[in-house]
Amino acid sequence: MESILEIQGLTKTYPGGLTALDAVDLDVRRGEIFALLGPNGAGKTTLIGAVCGMVRPTGGSIRAFGLDMARDWRRARARIGLVPQELGFDILESVERSVRFSRGLAGLAPDPRKIESILRSLSLWDKRDAQIRMLSGGMKRRMLIAKALAHDPELIFLDEPTAGVDVELRRDMWRLIGGLREQGTTIILTTHYIEEAEEMADRVGVIDKGRILLVEDKDTLMARMGSKEAVFTLSEPLHALPPDLPGLSLSLGEAGRSLCYRGSGADADGELAELVQALVARGIRFSALDIHESTLEDIFVDLVENGG
């Protein structure tokens, strides 16, 4: 598939000597939602800053839309939208004027209808004449999104768009981001909420200490790395594992009162069904069955702790 963003060997060492990005290679495809996951200080914001122009890279190259960002930054930036992690406004400016300013800055002619539709889609239209300082925290976050959308970007960066936003608003944002994707906008987002990546992302990248640990299709990743754990609470304790059970990864719990199955990947579901049938056939009775499927969160914690 066509790449919209190609990053090669991107390195950033801050003046203090800290290397926030260490030879990062990353390709983002046109039209996808790419979630960048990583713990605090991993380098997510630095990566976004390097692409968007707030951070001067120490090395490497960045191409967006096939344009070299070091040379053709003007043309490339006109097609990129940015929702920063931190709120930052001229708080005395009115909502509508502020969005209009963003559009002008990108070099586009004024378009009041466009701005109205953006503000309406973010439920900010009623506040259009209010000064930004009079908005609530959640409204300010949406305001950042409105400003980033003012020039119809093809590629949009959302740096923790849902930090400090309540559940309902977070769902609204997911819908909005989903809608953008429908229209063909490519979205790169960072988040600490793994469920967010799980819910929305097409692909996931994990970054830690300035290094990309992995980039993978979300579904493939979950299938490959996702594991299933099933714990049977047995009615009668077992003293040993039944010798004739098919070659599954099984273990006995405390005093033989429980039986634990661990499986991973696409086969796990089938294996578990097989196991249940085998237990029933052997007259091994159980009073409870607890199944736990690992989430992206588990995968992520695992990756970061074990360094990939």
Binding site: Y14, P15, G49, C52, G53, M54, V55, R56, W73, R74, R75, R77, A78, R79, I80, L82, P84, E86, L87, G88, F89, D90, I91, L92, E93, R97, F101, S102, R103, G104, L105, A106, G107, L108, A109, K147, H151
Partner: protein, 259 residues
């Protein structure tokens, strides 16, 4: 799709517009403060002291101080306006938008410096009208006067812009206007002709660049001054060029703007 290739006019215009609208929000402060200061200076220097000094260079004292007052307010207002203009986005964090937008040095400068200079021109006009209520001054070379005012406004808007990028806090923002500009302006022949000074002090005064600004403008008003108009114009242009150079360097290196 936008046609941004080499120069983003709409971006520059957006910045310019936003900066002027910021001034509009503080309209009364912008307008009233120069009117008030000018009036005060005329009451104190023009009326109270001027009553005892008859003429300087054949010009009534009250009329003599008009160009100096103009420069005095012009320098401080322009520098302050321009430095706040770029310092505020840095302070609030909204600078991210400028840094990630398809605007470069030229657009940013036209926007910020243009707006600061525009405000200064409006303020200059207000001062001249206010002064008219106190004294009947004449204007020998009006076009050249406007030219010098524009040159000075542009130069000090750039200077303020540099200050606003250099400053890491509100205190630093005020310190240069307060500790450097104001003293230099007062010592720069605003309220007197440097010919009135003893020889030694006169030589020292000639090192003060503001002497040349004040005298340049004074020449435009009355056709005479302590130093030649050519030198005045040349030095102002030189200062402007140095400021442009510094700003270009700031943008090339990202100094204090990009991390």
């Amino acid at each position: 799709m936008s046609g941004v290739v080499s120069f983003n006019w709409r971006g520059a215009w957006a910045i310019y517009n936003q900066e002027l609208s910021r001034a509009w929000r503080t309209f009364f402060q912008t307008i009233l403060s120069p009117v008030l200061t000018t009036s005060l200076y005329f009451i104190v220097f023009g009326a109270a002291i001027g009553g005892r000094i008859n003429e300087v260079d054949g010009i009534s004292y009250a009329a003599f101080i008009v160009p100096g007052l103009l420069i005095l307010t012009l320098l401080s207002e322009t520098t302050t306006n321009a430095s706040f203009g770029i310092y505020m986005p840095r302070f609030t964090g909204s600078i991210y938008e400028l840094l990630s937008a398809p605007v470069g040095v030229a657009e940013t400068l036209i926007g910020f410096v243009g707006a600061a200079a525009t405000k200064s021109l409006i303020i200059s006009a207000i001062i001249m009208v206010t002064a008219r209520f106190f004294v009947d001054y004449s204007l020998a070379h009006p076009i050249l006067a406007v030219g010098i005012i524009m040159l000075v406004a542009a130069a000090f808007a750039l200077f303020g812009f540099i200050l606003g990028i250099w400053a890491d806090g509100f205190e630093r923002l005020q310190i240069i206007p307060l500790l450097v500009l104001t003293p230099l302006t007062f010592l720069g022949g605003t309220f007197y002709s440097i010919d009135m000074l003893p020889e030694l002090w006169r030589s020292i005064a000639l090192v003060n660049p503001i002497v040349y600004l004040v005298n340049g403008l004074r020449w435009c008003f009355y056709g005479k001054s302590d130093v030649s108009i050519g030198v005045s114009l040349g030095l102002t242009a030189l200062f402007l060029a140095v400021c442009i150079g510094i700003v270009a360097w700031i943008f090339r290196t990202g100094w204090k703007l990009r991390s």
